[in-house]
């Protein structure tokens, strides 16, 4: 059996950070007592009618534009019909064949569509119902019901769980920069479903896909997709067929369970929502949104390469992690003249990240100014690379001023005048035959000599300086 290629598409639901719900004036809330933010509209009371939220539409347009989509001058709300206790009207107002935005791309992934809809309410399990013995009961809280949602559907352009996770990170950064959502997966303001299928590498047509529902963290998306790829591969290897179904990933056991049985086949009976006439997005509305667009990761990466001379990978790393990019730019601004941004990026992208991991650099004890000063000291030869790394350890742990730390801990680079000459002389004396070879021109023999000097100076000596003094003394 030939090599199998995973094909992954994502469906992301984004809760918009508006003040009120999609179709009524109830304030959005998180963690308030149940049913304290409801009205006839979001409770689905008889006779209540929806009226669309202007800012939600604006946010939808912003997202569509940021993803390079084509904003529809007229789009239609539909009713998606199904019964569920968290769905007060018995239908969800969503968009179907005429979405707000079509096409576009983010990074290497093409966007299929972006549309507006309303969120469902929350079901809280409360154990046994008092009414019928032995039957499980839930309580519905409609505070979340009707929260504006934007649904983003990608083309199946992802081919590994890792790239799916990385792309989600890029999407989250983009949405955060747009200021349209809290994009917090744990709190459910960003929710991701994945469509997964396998096909023989190089083949065009797609295999049967399954849908993984509501994985509420980036890690779970990666692990869930991993598990599903393995499950499908095993089926195919055993000569069995993959069934089209919806699966739930349980992160605790890493297991996948089927959500819907086929006989409960879904028939949503979409039809145009008669309570809402078509949504018209005027050229003025589109231009207003376009004018608000911040610099997005792709553009930022391009600028880092073109204007700051960063290599592609560093540029991408800083652009796709907005907080790191901001930190880097602050450090560049504070760095002494003549210090190349590329050098600063090395320290933010490699040394700093190695120490703070996924934490927000903006919240780190080491300020961009301090880091800039440290890079300055290194550039001026005041401190060696090894010394600077030690200083950064201190800065990350306790913050403070690099200059002061260098002085206090005596981490400054040693010069000739500070007795480096004597230490070199001692090393030459300790390795006479190595010294001979060096004098004869065999620079490889420098190793043991420089090694001893470094040991003696605990890395405070600059390698180039040491070699200069060695040659000087041997010549002398």
């Amino acid at each position: 059996m030939s090599e199998l290629e995973p094909v992954i598409g994502l469906e992301i639901h984004v809760q918009l950070a508006t003040r009120t719900k999609m179709f009524c004036g109830c304030a959005l809330s998180f963690g308030d007592p149940p049913n304290t933010h409801t009205c006839p509209v979001c409770l689905g009371l008889p006779g209540a009618l929806p009226v669309a939220n202007a800012r939600a539409v604006h946010f939808g347009v912003l997202i569509g534009l940021a993803l390079g989509g084509e904003i529809a001058p007229s789009s239609t709300f539909h009713r998606k019909n199904y019964f569920y206790p968290d769905l007060p009207k018995g239908y969800q107002i969503s968009q179907y064949d005429e979405p707000l935005s079509r096409g576009g791309s983010l990074g290497e992934v093409r966007i299929h569509r972006v549309h507006l809809e309303e969120d469902a309410a929350k079901l809280i399990h409360v154990g046994e119902s008092g009414r019928i013995h032995g039957s499980a009961a839930s309580v519905v809280d409609f505070n979340r019901g009707g929260t504006p949602l934007v649904e983003i559907v990608t083309e199946p352009d992802l081919h590994s769980p890792e790239s799916a996770r990385e792309w989600l990170g890029l999407l989250r950064t983009t949405l955060r920069q747009l200021g349209v959502s809290d994009v917090n997966m744990e709190e459910g303001s960003l929710r991701c479903d994945a469509n997964v299928s396998l096909r023989p590498a190089g083949r065009e047509e797609l295999g049967t896909k399954t849908e993984l529902k509501n994985m509420n963290s980036f890690r779970f998306v990666e692990r869930g997709v991993h598990a599903e790829i393995a499950r499908q591969a095993a089926l195919l290897a055993a000569g069995e067929a993959v069934e089209q179904e919806t699966l739930h990933f349980d992160p605790s056991g890493g297991t996948l369970t089927s959500l819907r049985s086929k006989e409960e086949a879904h028939d949503y009976r979409y039809f145009p929502e008669p309570d809402l006439v078509p949504l018209a997005v005027t050229p003025e509305m589109v231009e207003a949104a376009r004018a608000e667009l911040p610099e997005l990761p792709a553009a930022r990466a391009a600028r880092y390469e073109a204007e700051l001379g960063l290599p592609a990978d560093l540029a991408r790393q800083h652009a796709h992690r907005a907080e790191l990019g901001d930190y880097f730019e602050a450090a560049v601004a504070a760095a002494p003249a003549g210090v190349a941004p590329r050098v600063v990026a090395n320290w933010t992208g490699n040394e700093l990240v190695a120490r703070i991991g996924d934490d927000d650099p903006g919240a780190a004890k080491v300020t961009p100014q301090a880091l800039a000063a440290l890079v300055g000291l290194l550039d001026a030869g005041t401190v060696t690379g090894a010394g600077a790394r030690t200083v950064l350890d201190r800065l990350v742990a306790d913050g403070g001023d690099p200059q002061a730390i260098v002085a206090a801990e005596g981490l400054g680079a040693l010069g000739d005048d500070e007795g480096l000459g004597e230490i070199v002389a001692a090393a030459l004396a300790a390795h006479p035959d190595a010294a001979e070879k060096v004098r004869a021109g065999n620079l490889k023999a420098l190793g043991p000599i420089v090694g001893q000097v470094m040991r003696e100076t605990k890395g405070r000596a600059d390698g180039g300086e040491v070699q200069r003094i060695v040659r000087e003394q041997l010549a002398g």
Partner: protein, 472 residues
């Protein structure tokens, strides 16, 4: 007392403003009659008028009867359905609010076909309504309670809703005036929905002047209804005048087959009067009108199947516990709460929308709707109004059509095309056939209410219909 009863609503309002009539006495008179009624017209009555009207309140304390499906805060609003028995909403429908603000206190809630689905009021979850002209016959529907109440003098005037004829047909069968406004002219906020793209609230009154007065305080944009539109001009009180220069079109499709003799005789007599008043009367074509009923009985049930999904036993209304699981709670609650006609239409609408059938049924119906709208547009290039009998028959005996849904649906034959096109139409009483009222329908282009009322007023004067027998 009886002289109070003889007054039209507009006349009563003038009497109150002139100090010749006490608003409280006016309310009491009707409250008493309504409390004593045996037609089944009312489902709930107010104890009193509440705040007396201000000196310059345009509706001057003339009490209003409202169809059960209008939500009124704290007042039972059940849409004639057992699934909403005793339900008291926390808010009031915009149109009721406006009429109360204009000085019309709520007298009571009137009986109706369940969720406005019916043409005889026999589908009410709370019993039928009898026709005051002949108690063995239906008042028409779905606004049967409102029509019977006004005809019998149990209320000076009333509001109802019209989706496929639910104001005009009962008005015709009860010998009163009923007007369905242009779609969007009156807010639907707080009106328990049947078919959202067709439903419109309108007045049911004793005469055309009352209809104009009441309608004038119902129309207007409402930010709570995304489909509501501002009315381009104030609704004027119709003035004395004739029909000179008015061109009436009589569509063959709606006036040829299936019209009862008595109804036809009255219709022809009214056309003759129209000519005497100076109108020109010519045949016109609405080629797709014969398909309007089919389109209507796909579109309305489809929308209804979704509108009625919210009655699920979770947040309000009836709940029947099942076997402890969710699905059996849903299916038994809805089985117990909805009547046969409502179930029939939910099934029909669900089927028309279900995968594999959408294009053949709902999708086609929406295209037929386009053709019907075009037919009217074309007709109004040659005619000011299209006129038809309102109902093919006079009031029929209770029970006659309950076992034959299709026959029942056919009673909407002449009234269904207008809501599909969203245009306004009025029904005025134009005579009696074997002692039972007949109705004359006048339909005009969108927002032509003032012109329609003016023409109806001229005809009303010439017809000289006397409805007092039903109030005796």
């Amino acid at each position: 007392m009886s002289d109070v009863l003889a007054l039209s609503a507009a006349a009563a309002a003038e009497a109150v403003r002139a100090g010749a009539l006490d608003a409280a006495e006016l309310f009491a008179t009707y409250r008493e009659r309504a409390a004593a009624e045996d037609l089944g017209a009312f489902l709930w009555l107010a104890d009193g008028p509440g705040e007396p009207p201000g000196p310059d309140a345009p509706l001057a304390g003339v009490p209003l009867a409202a169809k059960d499906l209008f939500c009124v805060r704290g007042v039972p609003s059940q849409a004639g359905s057992r699934i909403l028995e005793g339900y008291r909403p926390p808010y009031t429908a915009t149109v009721v609010e406006r009429l109360q603000d204009a000085g019309a206190p709520l007298l009571g809630k009137t009986n109706q076909d369940e969720f406005a689905m019916g043409s005889s009021n026999e589908n009410s979850g709370f019993g039928p309504v009898r026709n005051p002209w002949d108690r063995t016959r239906v008042p028409g529907g779905s606004s049967g309670g409102s029509a019977a109440a006004v005809a019998a003098g149990l209320a000076p005037w009333a509001i109802g809703t019209d989706t496929g004829g639910s104001i005009r047909q009962p008005a015709a069968l009860c010998g009163i005036v009923g007007l369905k406004p242009t779609y969007g002219a009156v807010s639907r906020s707080g009106m328990i929905a049947f078919a959202s793209s067709l439903d419109q609230a309108g007045p049911l009154t004793r005469d055309v002047t009352d209809a104009a007065l009441l309608l004038g305080h119902m129309v207007g944009h409402d930010r709570r209804d995304a489909t509501s539109v501002p009315f381009p001009e104030p609704i004027a009180r119709p003035a004395e005048g004739d029909l000179r220069g008015v061109r009436l079109g009589v569509p063959e499709e709606l006036s040829a087959d299936g019209i009862e003799d008595g109804v036809r005789t009255a219709f022809d007599a009214t056309l003759a009067l129209a000519r005497e008043l100076g109108a020109t009367v010519e045949p016109c074509r609405l080629p797709h009108a014969p398909h309007a009923l089919s389109a209507y009985y796909l579109i309305a049930p489809a929308e209804a199947s979704a509108n009625l999904a919210r009655f699920d036993g979770v947040r309000y209304g009836l709940r029947v516990e099942g076997d402890g699981d969710l699905v059996s709670m849903y299916t038994r609650t809805r089985a117990a709460g909805f009547g046969p006609e409502v179930k029939r239409r939910i099934m029909l609408g669900t089927y028309a929308l279900s995968s594999g059938y959408y294009d053949a049924y709902y999708g086609r119906a929406l295209r037929v709707r386009t053709k019907i709208t075009e037919d009217f547009r074309a007709a109004f290039e040659r005619f000011d109004f299209v006129v038809t009998p309102t109902s093919p028959t006079v009031a029929f005996p209770l029970g006659e059509r309950t076992d034959d849904p299709l026959a029942m649906y056919l009673s909407d034959y002449c009234t269904v095309p207008m809501p599909l096109a969203g245009i306004p139409a009025i029904s005025i009483p134009n005579g009696l056939a074997d002692g039972l009222p007949t109705g004359f329908q006048i339909a005009g282009p969108a927002f032509s209410e003032n012109k329609i009322l003016q023409a109806a007023f001229a005809l009303e004067g010439a017809i000289g219909f006397d409805g007092s027998a039903a109030r005796a």
